[in-house]
């Protein structure tokens, strides 16, 4: 039963996410870059989007903390790492550079595909290529150190 319900939950969750992005104005890279421009004509919208999202997400996390397991799986599958390391900071910085340049992060880039703009297809294709390049090439590069962290 869970094998059927889990994809259904994911579909509804994705739909809410995409609808929320469209409603929030964050599909528009011009608005995103307006937020990232505090020294210009600053558009604070994104702060409201992130604020609204984190408040509800925090409520969800609080509820999940009182549950033994999620409704449709045996256990929660959450990130366990706590150390701040070089890949985390370098990756976030590289992402920030790309985000600033184009005004797209992964969620809006994928969601905006439904509008059929050639530019968003180009961006999303390049983004997926960048992901594959990391996962298939960079992460599997030969490294001399024995027992190096992945």
């Amino acid at each position: 039963m869970n094998a059927l319900l889990r994809p259904l939950v994911a579909l509804v969750s994705g739909l809410l996410f995409g609808f929320g992005l469209a409603l929030s104005g964050m599909l528009d890279p011009a608005r995103v870059q307006g937020f990232l421009d505090p020294f210009g004509a600053w558009d604070p919208s994104l702060a409201f989007v992130l604020g609204g999202a984190v408040i509800i997400s925090t409520a969800g996390y609080f509820v999940s903390g009182r549950m033994q397991s999620p409704a449709f799986d045996k256990a929660f599958d959450l990130p366990t790492r706590t150390n701040v390391d070089c890949p985390l900071v370098a990756g976030a910085a590289i992402f920030g550079l790309g985000w600033g340049l184009a005004g797209f992060c992964p969620g809006p880039a994928l969601a905006s595909l439904s509008l059929g703009l050639p530019q968003t297809f180009v961006f999303t294709a390049a983004m997926l290529l960048g992901m594959v390049a990391h996962d298939r090439i960079w992460r599997k590069r030969p490294r001399p150190l024995v027992g190096a962290a992945t």
């Binding site: 409201f48 984190v54 409520a59």
Partner: protein
């Protein structure tokens, strides 16, 4: 009073938060778009269908908006094709190296009070602000 345009952003954000809360409480998973998207290309297992369903819903979201409001959400893409390719490669590689993007580290990680996510969000916000500032106002500012 908060202007209507910001209320709309707040409501849209709340729906994104609800999406993350549902995925966590019902499926026990983090709504991180970069991880879910990259996972689609990974090994095929039981999770692949679930990840694909999330992405299908995500892409259908703006179409649902059009059904509800009779118009597509506004979008203005100004970058040239080479810039979009370069930025896309950086976003894809960076989110995988840094284990998350605005959703996984921002919406979900901040809610979990994850130290890694707080550092990631601060880093990508600062770098993105610097990038846009230099891009729009020149290095002289």
């Amino acid at each position: 009073m908060i202007p209507a345009i910001y209320l709309q952003s707040l409501l849209g954000g709340a729906l994104i938060g609800l999406s993350a809360a549902l995925l966590l409480i019902l499926n026990g998973r983090i709504a991180g778009v970069s991880g879910i998207a990259a996972g689609v290309f990974g090994r095929v297992n039981g999770e692949a269908a679930t990840r694909f369903a999330f992405l299908a819903g995500l892409v259908a979201g703006p179409a649902a908006y059009r059904l509800a409001f009779g118009a597509w959400p506004p979008i203005h893409v100004s970058g040239s094709i080479p810039l979009l390719i370069g930025a896309g490669l950086l976003v894809g590689f960076g989110t995988r190296l840094g284990s998350g993007c605005t959703s996984g580290h921002g919406v979900c990680g901040l809610a979990r009070l994850s130290r890694r996510s707080m550092v990631a969000v601060a880093t990508f916000l600062v770098v993105a602000v610097l990038t846009v500032t230099i891009q729009k106002h020149g290095i002289g500012l």
